[in-house]
């Protein structure tokens, strides 16, 4: 049987689909040959007067987060109120199984204090906040961060500092764990643009 000719509209769709299809095929074929880019780090900028860098969303896909991060001189700041200098800003972490992050979560925290960037464990368990000092880094240093979930604790590791384990209030086992990205504050908002480079490793 003779096939009916394509209408004009269907021809356009056909050509669009062909182009997309071939482009996809090229994309798939060239993906494995792609040269690594010079700077694989992702830059998160918290604009002056804001708490968040660009809002982004991602679900956690394994029981650990490994990343490297580089703060630059923009991590040096002075709070409007002296006591707020002790407030903890957040770097990266996740909310625990099916929980809001103010209920159950684990994050690396940071603050500019004592002329260094202090790195802390910042955990919510059943709505209760716990913090613990891990170590310190300097601006422009590349530091390696590792956060692992175990059945009873969140285990934090920074470079060669001792591991810090904070107890986990387990609420469930299987579900949605969403990732948390850089946040300034505390009470105050970013006093100037703050830039943090992060390289996530699978």
């Amino acid at each position: 049987m003779k096939k009916a000719p394509l209408t004009k509209r269907r021809k356009y769709i056909y050509y669009a689909l062909s182009t997309y299809g071939w482009a996809m095929l090229l994309f798939v074929l060239t993906l494995s040959c792609e040269q690594p880019i010079d700077d694989p780090y992702e830059t998160f900028v918290i604009p002056e007067g804001k708490h968040n860098a660009t809002l982004t969303t991602q679900s956690l896909q394994s029981d650990q987060i490994n990343f490297s991060a580089i703060f630059d001189e923009s991590a040096i700041y002075e709070s409007k109120t002296a006591e707020n200098q002790h407030d903890i800003n957040k770097l990266v972490g996740f909310s625990d199984c099916n929980a809001h992050h103010h209920q159950s979560s684990a994050r690396f925290g940071w603050r500019w204090l004592n002329d260094q960037i202090e790195i802390l464990a910042y955990v919510y368990g059943d709505g209760e906040r716990q913090t613990e000092y891990i170590g310190a880094v300097n601006p422009n240093d590349t530091a390696s961060y590792h956060l692992k979930i175990t059945e009873k604790a969140y285990v934090f590791r920074l470079n060669d500092f001792d591991e810090v384990a904070v107890s986990r209030a387990k609420n469930c086992d299987r579900g949605l764990y969403y990732m948390l990205f850089p946040y300034f504050g505390g009470d105050e908002k970013a006093p100037h643009d703050i830039s943090i480079k992060i390289l996530f490793r699978s």
């Binding site: 394509l6 269907r10 689909l17 997309y20 996809m24 982004t56 394994s62 029981d63 699978s202």
Partner: protein
């Protein structure tokens, strides 16, 4: 996990009775989590489809490790356009990675009908905030 198995059972049981169209696929996906290969079985009726899939890294295994992030989930297909032997489909997936972590993967596929029930699909998806590419080969086992 039980929910996925139950839904899969219902889908497969229903498809064997109605037998509208049942397709099996093998696929590979390159993403932030590395290269993964997988299998799926999907029931299709008119412009909608639903199926189950499994994919993992170096080994077809539920074992979790730094280079094996097994994913078990459901896929829903919605045909957007058809032109000649090609179809454009929206094929989002939802399921569990590493057995515990619920994920949603938006995906768009272009499917070419190569020969009778044999089809080649090229897909773009988003995994872990990064683009992913999928190449799949499907065969229609029941119609």
């Amino acid at each position: 996990m039980k929910v996925i198995i139950r839904i899969a059972f219902l889908v497969l049981a229903y498809s064997s009775v109605e037998a509208q169209e049942l397709t099996v696929s093998v696929f590979g996906q390159s993403s932030e989590l590395g290269f993964q290969r997988g299998y799926s079985i999907q029931y299709e009726k008119e412009k909608w489809g639903m199926g189950v899939l499994f994919q993992s890294g170096k080994t077809i295994s539920l074992e979790t490790s730094n280079n094996n992030h097994p994913f078990i989930g459901l896929t829903i297909a919605r045909e957007l356009y058809t032109a000649g032997k090609m179809r454009l489909l929206l094929t989002p997936k939802v399921g569990f990675v590493n057995q515990h972590f619920l994920v949603f993967i938006p995906e768009l596929q272009t499917e070419f009908n190569l020969y009778k029930g044999l089809r080649l699909s090229l897909g773009t998806a988003i995994r872990a905030r990064q683009p992913a590419a999928t190449l799949a080969l499907s065969y229609q086992i029941l119609k």
